[in-house]
Assembly symmetry: none
Homo-oligomer: 197 residues x 4
DNA sequence: GATGAATGAGCATTCATTCAT
DNA sequence: TATGAATGAATGCTCATTCAT
C-alpha cells in the first residue's frame, strides 16, 4: 500500500469522459455514437471508459445527471436592470444560448429517451421544475417592479417562457436562422410585457 | 403466384406500413425499432417491407414526408370567432393537440435526425415555414380585426407561437401535466393579446 | 402465405448445428470454442446459429439435451450370452466405447458445468438414474441366471460399474493406454463375478 | 520502497495465491474465474499475481503441480488392518474423500484441460501412474495376506479402483447422494474381495 | 516489492438487408 | 407479390496483461 497518488484524478477523468461523450452524442446522436469514438476523442482506450461507466447507457445517464447538476445552481439573472424590454429580451436570449451552446441536441436526446425511461423522466421533470421556479422568481421581481400587471398568471408565464425557449431550440436544429428565432423571442416578450405592464 | 393485385393496392399497403412504422418509432424510437417489429405489427414479413421501402432510413423519410404532406393542407382556423381570448386559446391548444396526438415523439426523432441529415433538415425547414405562414395569416386576420396592436411584430409572434407549442410538447414528454401546459399556453396568449390590443 | 416449403428443414439444420458444436466443444472446450468456429465448420454464417439457438449457452444445453435424449432409448444388452465372463466384459467395454466415441470430453464439460448450473445438474442426475436402472436390469438378469451371488448388492454394483467406466474415460483423457483401461475393466469384472457367483 | 522482504516470504505468498486460485477455480471454473477474483480473495492487487505467475495459465499449472506434489508423498495406508472388508472399504472411501475434499471440480478441470495441453497431460499421466503404483503396493500386501486370490490381475484392479473412485466423484458433482456412492464403492469392493479370497 | 489505471485484442450477439423459392 | 432463412458487418463489453509510480 505504498503508492498513494490519484484520488481526484478519477473524478477528473470521469469529467473528461462526460464532456467527450456529450460532444460525440451531440454530433452523432446517442445510438450512432460508438464507444470507440468517444475513447478516441479522448486518446483513451475503449476499456478505460468501462472503468468509469459500466455501460454506454450508464454513461448517458452520467451525462444527464451532470447536465442537470450543472444547471441546478445557476441563479443567473434573467432580466437585467434596463428599462428597455426589447434589448433586455435579446440579452436574455443570448445569455441562455451561451450557456446551452451545443447542448440542444443532447437535451433533445434526453427528452426522447425519457419517454422510455421513467428514472430519467423523473429526474428531468424535477429539474425542469427547478428551472421553472427560478424563472418564476425572476418574473415575480419584475412583477413587483411594476413591469408586469398583477392579474397576469406568472406561473403560467414562467412555464411558457421556458417552453418558448425550447421550441426555438428546435427551430435552430432544423436550420432556422437564429436571427428569426431571436426576433420571435423578442416579439413575444415585448407583446407580453406590453400587455402586462 | 398466389396473390392478386391492384394498382391502388400498393399505395394502400404503403400507407399501412407507414402507419405501423410511426407507431413503432413513436413507441421505441427510431434506432431501437427493428424492421421485424414493424413487420410483425402488420402481420407481414420483413422482406415485404423492402418491396415498398428500400431501407429503414427510406421508410423513415417516407414517414416524414407523409407527416408533412398531411399537415400541409391543414388550413384549420386557429382562432375562433369568440371574443374571449382565454377560451379561444384553450380551444386552439386542444385542437392542435388532437391533431398531433401521438406524434410528439416521432417529431422529436425527426428533429434530432435532421441535425444529421441535410435532406431531412431542408424538408422540415420548408414545412415549418409553411406552418409559420399559416399561423401568420391567422394572426393577421386577428390583427386586422383590431385584436392585435399594429406595432406588434406579427411575423415574430407567429414563429413564437409555434415554438411555444413545441416547447410544451417537450414538457409533456418529460411528464409535466397537460393542465400546467395549457395554463402556460393560455397565460402567454392572454398576456400577449392584452398587450397587443 | 404462398410458399410452404421447409418445415423439417429446420430441425435438420438444428441437428447439424448440434453435431458441429459437439465436435467443436469436444475439440477445443466450451469456453475456447468461438461461435464462428462452429459456423465455419458448417459452412454457415454466425448469424444463422442464432436463428436456432438464442445464445452459446443455449446451444450447449441443446447439446446436453440431445445427448441425453439419444442415450435414453438405448437398451443395448450389456452382457452377451457367452459364459466366458472375461470376453463378455471386453465386449461390453468396447460396445460402450463405440457408442460414446468422442463424447468423453464434452460429457466432462457437462459435468463440470453442472456444478454451476442447477438445471443442468438436475437433468444429468435424472439421466444418470436412467442409466443406472438400465444397468441394474441387466445385472439382475445375470443374477437370476446364477452368475451373481444372491447376497450381492446389485444396486451398488450397478452404480459402481457406471462409475468405473467414467473413471476409465478420465484415464483415457490423460493419455492412459486403452489397453490398460480395458485390462482394469476386465480385471474388476472378473473379480466381481468370481466373487459373486 | 516501502516493503520488507524475506526469502521465504515469496514462496509463502506463492502458496497463498495457489490456494486462493484453487478455491476460485473450483467455485467458478477456470475460464470463468477472473484474475481479479483471485486477487480480491487474497486482498492483493491483480498486478501482484503477475509477480508470482507469469500468466493465468501458468498459475493453473502451478496449481496442478502443487496438487500432484502434495499427493506424491502421500503413503497413507489404504487398507486398515481390520478383517471386515466392508467397514474397511468404507473407511478407505472416507479417507480419500477427506483428502480430496473440494478438489473434485478442479481435478476435472485439469483433466479437461489436459485434453488440449500435452504438457499437462504428461504430468497428470505420470502422477496417475504414481497413484496406481501406490494402490498396487497396498493391494499386493493384501494379496500376500491371502485376502486376494493369486490369479487376480492386481495391476488391473489397482487401476480400476482409482477409476472407480474418480467415477464416483463425477456422481457427486451431478448431485448424487454420497450415501449411494459409498454403497457402490463398498458393494464393488466386497464383491471383488469375496471373489478374490 | 506492490499497486491499480490503462490497454486492446477478442468475442458474443444483433439486425438491416438480400434472394431463392 | 410475398416470404423468411441466411448473411456478415457492426459494436458493446470483457479481461488477461502491462507498466509507471
Amino acid at each position: 500500500m505504498c503508492p498513494k497518488v490519484t484520488e481526484l484524478h478519477k473524478s477528473e477523468v470521469r469529467g473528461r469522459i462526460i464532456r467527450a461523450a456529450m460532444e460525440s452524442f451531440a454530433q452523432t446522436g446517442y445510438d450512432k455514437t460508438k464507444m470507440d469514438d468517444i475513447a478516441k476523442r479522448l486518446g483513451l482506450s475503449k476499456g478505460t471508459l468501462y472503468l468509469y461507466f459500466k455501460s454506454k447507457e450508464d454513461l448517458f445517464f452520467g451525462i444527464c445527471e451532470h447536465s442537470m447538476e450543472e444547471g441546478k445552481d445557476d441563479d443567473s439573472k434573467l432580466f437585467t436592470k434596463k428599462e428597455n424590454a426589447a434589448s433586455d429580451a435579446e440579452q436574455i436570449y443570448d445569455n441562455i444560448r451561451r450557456r446551452e451552446r451545443g447542448n440542444d441536441r443532447i437535451i433533445l436526446e434526453m427528452v426522447v429517451e425519457s419517454a422510455r425511461n421513467p428514472r430519467l423522466r423523473k429526474a428531468m421533470h424535477e429539474y425542469r421544475q427547478k428551472v421553472h421556479d427560478h424563472v418564476l422568481q425572476e418574473i415575480k421581481k419584475k412583477s413587483e417592479d411594476g413591469f408586469i400587471r398583477k392579474d397576469v398568471d406568472v406561473n403560467g408565464i414562467a412555464v411558457a417562457l421556458v417552453a418558448l425557449y425550447d421550441g426555438l431550440a428546435i427551430n435552430r436544429m432544423i436550420g432556422m436562422s437564429d436571427a428569426m428565432n431571436k426576433r420571435a423571442w423578442v416579439a413575444m416578450i415585448k407583446a407580453m410585457i406590453a400587455g402586462s405592464s
